[in-house]
Amino acid sequence: MKKLLTGNEAIARGAWEAGVVVCTAYPGTPSTQITEHAAEYDEMYAEWSPNEKVALEVGGGAAIAGGRAMVAMKHVGVNVAADPLFTLAYTGINGGLLLVAADDPGMHSSQNEQDSRHFGRAAKVPILEPADSQEAKDFTKLAFELSESFDTPVMLRVTTRVAHAQTTVELGDRQEVGLKKYEKIAAKYVMVPAYARRRHVVVESRLGKLQEYSETASLNRIEWNDTKIGVITSGVTYQYVKETMKDASILKLGITFPLPRKLITEFAEQVDKLYVIEELEPFIEDYIKSWGIEVHGKDTFSVIGEILPETIREKMGIEVENTVDNNEAASAIPIRPPVLCPGCPHRGLFYVLSKLKTTVAGDIGCYTLGSLAPLNAMDTTICMGASIGNAIGMEKARGKDFARNLVAVIGDSTFIHSGITGLIDVVYNKATTTTIILDNRTTGMTGHQENPTTGFTIKGEPIKEVDLELLVKAIGVERVVVVDPFDLDKVEKTLKEEMAAEEPSVIITKRICALIDKESDKTPYIVSQEACTGCMRCMKLACPCIIKEGKKVRINTAQCVGCGLCVTVCPSGAIKKEGEANV
């Protein structure tokens, strides 16, 4: 049977067909749906782990115990999981172990555009790169075979376009591979120096064997055409090359580490001009250059951003006659950045932080949108969990006084991911940081996943949720306050008090994400044009529903979810629920 699947769905399906028993992940665009779909299959255990490191450790444990395991994360997640990755490469596996790393060229939803292939190479594990959903499924299955036959974790590297594009996939059945025998082999799985020295030798010889495999693997194939131009490519870029360079010969690489040197050399010899077209880093290109082969790549294409079909046309000088020329207009088109949603609980807090001109060490989540104008209420965003450490560092560098108008803000999921250790540092090293945990009862930015604070697992089973108040108290924070972020007066008062206190404090702002809130009254508000004085105070909320019209404001009732925060800031009582107002 054939079905239209996203790359992510296809990877989940591939894992299921390969007889995988354990799937773990921490959410992260563009990888999130892999594990959401994996959780739909009853035969596989699936979990949202607290972070990527734990996810890979659980996957590693499952594999060592003899089961096939898949671990999925976005590219920056691999940074977090790097520690277990590098040593799992030494121990090898027992049941197959697959790490899916989803890169985001162009940074559609990311804080950087690092290339995961560097990690695969540094950890010395093979890397497969599918070009569409069918390959995403096939390569996933193959990865488990390679993992077991070469006794190594395998990396499947996808990019946003492969992960999110939908293409047709031929579905197969699940193959119950069962569990491999579990044996206690300290020399293989206990990486003390004496054993690790021996395992390193194994890793290096394994690389040699993988290299031989890469030379003849059907994943790497040549599509001969005109030999004037030869293109070496991988992943979705292969599709773009096929779309735009119809005459070129193509060497499509499905395995990009270790590279098939002989195959590449032969291909290079038979074409007049050789290009490598790859997104992000010159990963393939650098190898080819190091072999003394003349090749073009990043002299023509940028290491920055995505490569799209039109990029290839532009860079390779391929004309399209038919396009509507919109260049002069394009430069004048206002950008449309994402915004905090109508009804977003974070808006209340950021309105107050903006008003108090507080220095905000920020973090990653929907609340990062509080950094945008007109709120402008964030000073730093580095990586998940960084806010608290950054705030400590600011205080240690500039002194205690600086901390009197300084906070760290961090979402519930992010706090669990890697904020807890930062908070321990606050207490342990006598910082006086005020940490605000934004508890919106979900992992919002990545599309509403459960997490340890929400009370449910990925499969929707109720569990005992982490009690954030109790947790921070156990760390040693004595000042802990829970507030509703829409109670603006209380938020302001609490913020002033806690920032003034020369000791660690935590404010938990608790209010459910507007997109998952099923209970509250969604009737929109409207503005009485007689009563509105045009003071524009409500505009400071940065609500996308409030629109300035002439000297007054109006509410876009199609978008308004009736949260009422604007009512709180309106000094003239001009905002009423639709139906209640007599305008």
Partner: protein, 191 residues
């Protein structure tokens, strides 16, 4: 039209472009076409600029529509129509919902919403259809059904029977909302 049909749906996160494209994809598949869809789920869904690219026909390589090759653009918002205009074929068709949603920089007054957006588009393409999606959706009973009104208009320019559209809508849309959505779609089809 050529061997491959390229349809680009653009709008603002939250406007319901994803559901519209899901129905379109369902219809295309129902007819047994090879299809590829490019869409990005992520940060832009929080009120940013969103798109879905649907390609069907034979021998499609790229899941994204190469610039300048869209046969039809369905724009849920005027500024987004302008933003994606260069993706349209020279003789392509653009269907525009006559709605203006100000992006934050415009709301704040740092930049202006291009008042001549429609003029620019009309100067450059012959086949422009304007749609008052909001009024039609309100008439159908829910302002949120603008997406189905627009899909209804799009359906007039594609070669699929009305029945297939209805069947796929019934399979895709929750029963609770189906009546309003069918009404909205019909309004679009008659528009």
């Amino acid at each position: 039209m050529s061997e491959i049909i390229n349809i680009l749906i653009v709008g603002v996160g939250g406007q319901g472009t994803i559901l519209a494209s899901k129905v379109l994809a369902g219809v295309v598949q129902e007819k047994g076409h090879e299809v590829k869809i490019a869409e990005i789920h992520g940060m832009s869904q929080r009120g940013g600029s969103v798109f879905t690219q649907v390609r069907y026909g034979a021998n499609i390589a790229s899941p994204t529509i190469p610039q300048g090759e869209a046969d039809i653009i369905l724009a849920f918002e005027k500024l987004e129509a302008l933003r994606w205009l260069s993706y349209l074929k020279k003789n392509g068709r653009i269907l525009i919902n006559d709605q203006r949603i100000d992006p934050m920089p415009v709301i704040m007054g740092t930049v202006e919403y291009p008042a001549d957006a429609l003029q620019i588009i009309q100067d450059k393409c012959q086949n422009v259809t304007m749609i008052d999606g909001v009024s039609e959706a309100l008439k159908a009973g829910n302002i949120k059904s603008v997406n189905m009104v627009l899909l209804g208009v799009l359906s007039k320019f594609l070669d699929f029977d009305g029945d297939i559209w209805l069947k796929v809508m019934q399979e895709t849309i929750p029963a609770k909302f189906i009546d309003v959505n069918l009404k909205a779609f019909e309004a679009g089809r008659k528009y």
